[in-house]
């Protein structure tokens, strides 16, 4: 019998599946809510941003979720929804009866929490790449989120109608890939830059822009303040190539992770990425603390100096735009979290792509403890998000260690629990991949989520797992990498679990499976799980 070689076979399958998906998407197959009130309930919201709560702990207490260590093993799939993107990166906002989520080319959709039918959709914004956050404004609930290139958007949660769109031109080529955070009258918006990719063009003079944090008026979208991470970006000409193309710096230090908010100190904390070009600044791979009213810096602390990297380096280290002292590319993408030590004192915990985790004094930025897990790399180490359980005094660290740059260190993908007071290891789980393809890796790149004595972790091999928080015992697992009969009848399959990770909301566990970036396994499955007891009711 004729046998197609495995890679070719996979390629053909992928192409056929993608074509089928696109065809189905173009015909707009929806499951509209015929017998349901299309107005979403808005009395209860289960999260505020990528860090779930302002504290960034990514912790849902028993007041916010009924899923715990006692019933986690009874979780089963309730329904699946086929998203219109193979690289979903929208963290949903869940209310008592609705899931708001970015649905690729379909825009923003409001899905009925029980059935997945569509209450309303706003198809005008097709590049949603962040969490959906909300705030009460003049008596109505406003949803805020960002489109990767289209800017920041505010819509009415009841109807999906647009309120405003704002793309602050803080520099010529901003990218809005980090999740915003809404607090009272202000929306805080992380700013990255397209220069990370433009640099791959050898005729481009890399680089002149800076990452930063913008604050917008939640009523109008007007810019209130902007805090660049690099002062006087692009002010130094560091050389020329092809006779005329000027290399410039310093640049970069993008902010692409969600910020977290300390309402006690009125400080916003967030991490920055690497510099795009030389000279390196003192603010790349750093944690920033800024005052929420003015954007003034309270403190900034750098954890890796001299890290310069851009996409030119992925084509060749001899690329004229690749910095001569190419750095390890070890940004802070995971939001820092603020939690309490048993003494009652606050501690800020930040995880870096290097695999290094830091306990930091939130008042002055000084390192209290640091510890390292795995070997780290451009895709983590710690990639998208750590979590903490304040009831147990533990922080949970997911390690990706996906192969990217050559390294002499062995990878150690898995989940690590540390004592928040000193960073000492309490337990760890080293993972092995559930499949063997090149795109299948055991690592935990996605942000993890903590709940009542549980930790929910999504792996790059497609496995969704729940561990007991106090000892690391695996309580439940589910292989999301398969095909589904979706409620909206789109061809739907799972793949790599990455980026925003899982959401615990009320009696549901929600995750999107598939992440077709960085040669990982694409997929478009939004999966909603419930416990047996919940489904019996």
């Amino acid at each position: 019998m004729f046998h197609i070689p495995t890679p070719l076979n996979a390629l053909i399958k992928t192409a056929a599946w993608t074509a089928l998906s696109l065809l189905a998407t173009s015909t707009s197959v929806y499951a509209n809510c015929d017998n349901t009130d299309i107005k979403p309930g808005l009395k209860q919201q289960f999260s505020t941003s990528w860090g779930i709560e302002y504290s960034g702990e990514r912790f849902q207490s028993s007041a916010k979720t009924s899923i715990n260590a006692n019933n986690a093993s009874t979780l089963s799939l309730k329904w699946a929804y086929g998203l219109s993107t193979n690289r979903p990166r929208s963290y949903p906002l869940v209310t008592e009866d609705t899931i708001f989520i970015g649905d690729g080319g379909n825009g923003l959709v409001a899905l009925d929490k029980e059935t997945g039918c569509v209450r309303w959709e706003n198809t005008s914004i097709k590049d949603i790449s962040t969490s959906i956050v909300s705030e009460q404004v003049d008596g109505r609930t406003v949803l805020v989120f960002s489109g990767r290139l289209s800017g920041v958007h505010a819509v009415d949660a009841s109807t999906g109608d647009k309120i405003w769109t704002s793309a602050p031109k803080v520099h010529p080529v901003p990218m809005f890939s980090g999740s915003p955070l809404a607090y009272k009258d202000t929306v805080f918006v992380p700013i990255s830059s397209m220069e990370i990719g433009l640099s791959a063009n050898p005729f481009y003079g890399c680089c002149t822009t800076s990452g930063g944090m913008a604050a917008l008026d939640i009523r109008t979208g007007e810019l209130l303040w902007y805090r660049p991470t690099v002062e006087e970006a692009g002010s130094v000409v560091t050389g020329t190539h092809f006779l005329f193309v000027e290399k410039r710096g310093p640049s970069g230090a993008p902010v692409w992770g969600s910020p977290m908010l300390d309402t006690k100190r009125d400080l916003l904390f967030y991490g920055s990425g690497q510099n795009y070009s030389l000279p390196a600044s003192l603010t790349s791979d750093a944690i920033f603390a800024v005052h929420i009213k003015t954007g003034e810096i309270a403190w900034v602390e750098q954890f890796t100096a001299g890290d310069t990297f851009n996409m030119a380096c992925t084509t060749s280290v001899d690329h004229p735009n690749c910095p001569s002292t190419m750095g390890p590319d070890v940004d802070f993408g995971a939001p820092p979290l603020l939690t309490q030590m048993p003494s009652g004192e606050d501690i800020l915990i930040a995880g870096q792509k290097s695999g290094q985790v830091y306990g930091i004094n939130p008042d002055n930025g000084k390192t209290v403890w640091s510890t390292r897990f795995g070997r780290g790399g451009p895709l983590g180490g710690v990639h998208w998000g750590i979590a903490a359980n304040p009831e147990l005094g533990l922080a949970f660290i997911p390690i990706s260690d996906v192969p990217a740059f050559p390294s002499d260190l062995p990878p150690a993908p898995g989940l690590y629990a540390v004592d928040v007071k000193d960073g000492s290891l309490r337990w760890s789980v080293e993972r092995e991949a559930a499949c063997e393809e090149r795109s299948c890796w055991a690592g935990l790149s996605a942000a993890i989520t903590a709940g009542p004595n549980i930790v929910v972790a999504g792996a790059m091999d497609g496995m969704l797992e729940i561990y007991r928080a106090d000892d690391g015992e695996k309580l439940w697992s589910y292989n999301t990498k398969k095909e589904y009969d979706a409620v909206n009848a789109l061809p739907t399959k799972g793949g790599t679990l990455d980026a925003h990770g899982a959401m615990l909301a009320g009696d549901l566990l929600i995750v999107s499976s598939g992440y077709g970036s960085f040669q990982q396994q694409e997929g478009n499955a939004l999966l909603v799980f419930g416990t047996t007891e919940e489904q019996a009711q």
Binding site: P172, Y204, G205, F242
Partner: protein, 151 residues
């Protein structure tokens, strides 16, 4: 001049086109480097901004390479090197500049752009016409021109 034996050979036309296809982008790159038109972040501030700059670069490159030759001798650089020229199909006289620029240069590319789903096949179709008896490409028919040996 109206004698069909004066028609340029397909081989010469092919190599003339190859020369033009190679030289024009090289000059375009040189112009891009000197002017810095696509070198800075401002060039990519919006899709419209980028498209406008690329179009400007393409037009200026074409005129720098071929403008004077087309105006004075009805030839592109490649055609000049291979001693062939563009003439009006009916009169046999050198084709007018406006026809060479507006129709020959822009009509077909515009059709390509408007017919985006079929864009890949149009240039092939255009060139396939050269194998007809009168050795005229589709763009020759659209512009009432033909390519002949230079006397």
């Amino acid at each position: 001049m109206k004698d069909s034996t004066m028609l340029a050979g397909r081989g010469r036309r092919f190599f003339a086109t190859i020369i033009d296809v190679i030289v024009t982008p090289i000059v375009g790159v040189a112009i891009m480097l000197v002017t810095g038109i696509l070198e800075s972040a401002e060039a990519y501030a919006s899709t419209e901004q980028t498209v406008a700059r690329v179009l400007l670069l393409a037009i200026s490159s074409y005129f720098v390479v071929h403008g004077w030759l087309l105006f004075s001798r009805s030839q592109s650089l490649g055609k000049s090197l291979l001693r062939i020229m563009i003439v009006d199909n009916s009169s046999g006289e050198p084709a007018s500049f406006w026809k060479l620029i507006l129709l020959r240069l822009w009509a077909l590319p515009l059709i390509y752009l408007l017919a985006i789903p079929m864009a890949a096949i149009i240039p092939i179709l255009d060139q396939a016409f050269i194998f007809g008896k009168s050795r005229r490409c589709l763009h020759d028919y659209l512009c009432s021109t033909k390519v002949v040996k230079r006397p």
